[in-house]
Symmetry: C2
Subunit: 283 residues, 2 copies
Amino acid sequence: MREIIMAEHAGFCFGVKRAVDAIIDALNDAEDRSEVWTIGLPIHNPQEVDRLKKTGLNVAEDESEIPPGARVLIRAHGEPRCVMESLRAKGAAVTDTTCPFVSRAQKLAESLSREGYSIVLLGDKSHPEIISIMGHADGKVYVAADEAEAAALPRLGRAALISQTTQQEERLARAAAALVPKTEELRVCNTICRATVDRQNAVRSLAGKVDGLVLIGGRTSANTAKLRDIASECGMDVLWVEDSEEIKEARSWFEGRNRIGIAAGASTPEWLINKIKSGIADI
Amino acid sequence: MREIIMAEHAGFCFGVKRAVDAIIDALNDAEDRSEVWTIGLPIHNPQEVDRLKKTGLNVAEDESEIPPGARVLIRAHGEPRCVMESLRAKGAAVTDTTCPFVSRAQKLAESLSREGYSIVLLGDKSHPEIISIMGHADGKVYVAADEAEAAALPRLGRAALISQTTQQEERLARAAAALVPKTEELRVCNTICRATVDRQNAVRSLAGKVDGLVLIGGRTSANTAKLRDIASECGMDVLWVEDSEEIKEARSWFEGRNRIGIAAGASTPEWLINKIKSGIADI
């Protein structure tokens, strides 16, 4: 009999749950569901996005597609200030479910850039969260993916280092160390969210207790990618899946593995975790 | 013929020179030299201190020894706020030659502690400069000698990391990295002075060009100790001397060494460097 060990913290974090619940509420309340929109995919989980779209959610590529007077839900990653202003200008009814941890990073970028600090964001420059935080800074903003990119920045005088909420603390610490010799003053804002740290620690504590880790999360999910990195660093074999179909396809991966750990990114809904658990039990 | 290669930056820095010049001016101006005082040794160089004492300078162990109405020169390391207040209360004529780089660190400790930041000083807790900076902070102050001590501190919330001006930037960077996971916000104030960085780089650039390094500086000089560490890390054999007498005693050290580098801490006067140069030439 195969044993399944769930990571202590896995799946929807508070911020994602709040954002998804708000979409469902908006769809339930709407007289006309064609008026309920998000800009971009509401979360980095295709299965959950499919479910929301089937319930009537409309997903715009960008804010220019939003029809006047629409009801718009701002996803947990947040939006740049200019997008919020443009939505207000076209009379959209905006429900802002930006994750409070992302809001904090946005506010720090705004206030510190106004105080004259150059802003350095640690994260992925193409990720919506980083784009939303950048869009709140007033002055010079740099994005560094890691300490090497931080070390390659010019001298900065006074700078603030702000982290994508899904980063690892050790990466933030190393990026800070790379910036100290380039700055007179460096304000390191630890904007990594608690849920991220909890999920990362939960993966770490599975090391040595399992013969392999099934990691559930969207392919574009930054926090899931970090969980994969941590699991690999801890010496675990990882099977990253988005859906239960992939469990069947990876049948051979399970051979000889008796204790299977399960972890899931912050954008993975509980129903999907349960479906995958059943899929593993069925092998 | 033995070749002597001087480090590009060596000896008195701007702050020490200013403090020593002020003492000499005060002694020259004084009607009664018994009224001219410093608290503690004015610089960490016994030979220069001897010279100043012979010119009439009085050195008090602490401010309680200062007679009322005395003329007091505050050395480059600065003094805690309470000492400055006590001197003012007893009507001393104070000439403050606190190094401007130390003043900056004192002001940061004062303003950031008032803003609610815990203060972490990177340095030697028994060094007068650290004592003077500590004495300007209003709240919680910790002193960490290195990253290991920084890593052993409790969680700090909002903290400011301020450096003794004679530290190495890499040590400050490593201490910052150790504090990032303990703080929501960490303000790293790079208060290392330019003269320190210049002297350290000058030692580094002697590596490979000399068969040994004569390092001149007081045994209690923090910045000289750092130069010794750097020279050793760069693979240089170091002869640390305070005075030219020691050159004669170390005769055997010079055997087989044809190219001798000379470096000197920020509290080493030029006359002493010249005396030691002659001493080496005489061997």
